[in-house]
Assembly symmetry: C2
Homo-oligomer: 323 residues x 2
């Protein structure tokens, strides 16, 4: 059991508190508005813990888990004995700098310091703190209480030991961290996602298909494989010679598709309005909050489906007898 | 009940026969090597029918379904009374031209004529036949017995009526057809897939991450949403203002990711070899055939998961009470 501090109690910070508390850790919670942490964040955290206790039981009640979360009134109090701090405040480099200066001064020197930033390079606010070798980005997918992927990315100053320790701690908490080896805008997940969306915007904009078609291609086509195996294992299974054989046969097609893609397509407001209109006809904007809860239940259903096969689908080594 | 003819009994042709027979249609099967159709294709079709009878029961036994499939010795015999012909022969434009000339001459004039091609534009071999208005591409995802998405694409000569009738027939058979409005290399699914893979090859080639990381980002990140909702509905649910609000906040990031993507990245054999080595360490090439069967079972598990929520996740109109 480690002592974890979550700084910031928005959607992301609350979900992190859920992750760490469910993993058995003691969680110190801090928000610049302490009454928000107590009166808004804690009730929502309890609700999420209840939902997860049903959908992905750990053997503990939601209340038992919640009892390990404690709200603190200052950053210094919250981080004083911490082993790991996860910051999830506003995406503003000046705010992050100031918060991390305070965290770094008050936390033990060996305490790991992680930022949830998705929009900023960690080096912009983590390099100048006391002991910068312990600080890095741990970029979650929202909400990390439901989606296990985490992208760890060091600054130039981060030590390999700190990243390794974070990887161990997060894996033990049920997350699936990858290490991004150099800073890059958008990290990996958003680059993949928005590269595909960019080509989709091109195909829609040039009249080949609609946004509805794109969504159907993904849910009724691509994702039926990707829910169990990623794009590289998919290719490996698509040729008798494995990936090398696949590239031998279809490498020219792969290169052609990449060269033909127009991911810099300059879509405009009219195209956005038409897509929004279709989406709103399927799901009115007023129903989005409820639909988010539905989406999160579907995420858990997909994870349960994945686990029903012992995770073989997640590009781990398949046991021969499984096949 | 319609009379469907499947020309070609490779992986794709066999899977089409399974789709149409399970939907209650009479299926005429033809292969240039009639003994292959009888002695290789039919036993494999029976095996797939048995697996599907367990995983996605229709109320009929596999044998009852198989009894509706009949092997014919000539194309003329196979298509003489057909309502719909699905061609799945070799991806060779001269072969397709010759096969479609024969089909078009012998089939009734109102019979729909579909090609499974994934690599050729339909106009290259469907425009010059007798009654070209009834001919189009119906590009499946392999295997169509398990993956419902189909991409319909007309040539310049195809009538809207033919495409509409094909859409109805395929939908009634449990498939999910989209209509690609203009010919485009790779149609939609492969363009999306290989645009994302191209950016992944760039990120791996430039040392940001590994192929293992990419596969994990997809299975433990992106696909947890995409198994239920496509990328546009995902964005719609990610902002209180829906898609329009999402683009207002994150449009600049979307454009930046698209502009920064290097989908024309010139990956080489060394990179392919390294990726193959990792994949083969996870799944030896000798185990691929067994792994394909496992993958197809996972596809059915994912579809069962999707259906467990009445298909709300597939960008259909959600019923308010579901939320």
């Amino acid at each position: 059991m480690a002592r974890i501090t979550c700084i910031g109690t928005g959607n992301v910070g609350r979900a992190w508190a859920v992750v760490f508390a469910r993993a058995g850790h003691a969680v110190a919670l801090y928000d610049a508005q302490p009454d928000l942490a107590l009166n808004v964040a804690m009730p929502r955290i309890r609700r999420t813990l209840k939902e997860l206790a049903e959908a992905m039981p750990t053997g503990e009640t939601a209340e038992a888990v919640a009892s390990r979360i404690e709200v603190h009134a200052t950053i210094a109090d919250a981080v004083r004995n911490a082993d790991y701090v996860q910051e999830s405040v506003r995406e503003d480099v000046a705010v992050k700098r100031s918060v991390f200066a305070e965290i770094a001064d008050a936390a033990p020197h060996q305490c790991l310091l992680a930022s949830s930033t998705s929009a900023l390079p960690g080096s912009a606010f983590l390099s100048a703190i006391v002991h910068p070798e312990r600080a890095f980005v741990a970029h979650p997918v929202n909400p990390p209480s439901h989606i296990p992927l985490v992208e760890l990315c060091g600054t130039g100053a981060t030590s390999a030991e700190a990243l390794g320790a974070a990887q161990n701690l997060l894996s033990a908490a049920g997350m699936e961290p990858i290490i991004v080896r150099k800073e890059i805008d958008g990290f990996i997940l958003n680059r993949l996602q928005y590269t595909m969306v960019a080509e989709a915007m091109h195909l829609i904009g040039e009249g080949y298909c609609t946004a509805e078609d794109i969504d159907r291609v993904v849910t009724s086509g691509l994702a039926l494989r990707w829910a169990s195996i990623g794009p590289f294992m998919t290719a490996h299974l698509n040729a008798t010679g494995g990936f090398a054989g696949f590239v031998e046969q279809l490498g020219p097609m792969m290169k052609r598709m990449g060269q033909d893609a127009k991911t810099d397509y300059d879509w405009g407001p009219q195209q956005v309005a038409e897509i929004h209109e279709w989406l709103a006809s399927q799901l009115p904007v007023d129903d989005i909050a409820e639909a988010q809860a539905w989406r999160d239940r579907r995420i858990l259903a997909t994870r349960a489906m994945q686990k029903s096969d012992d995770g073989v689908g997640k590009a781990k080594k398949p046991e021969p007898e499984t096949f």
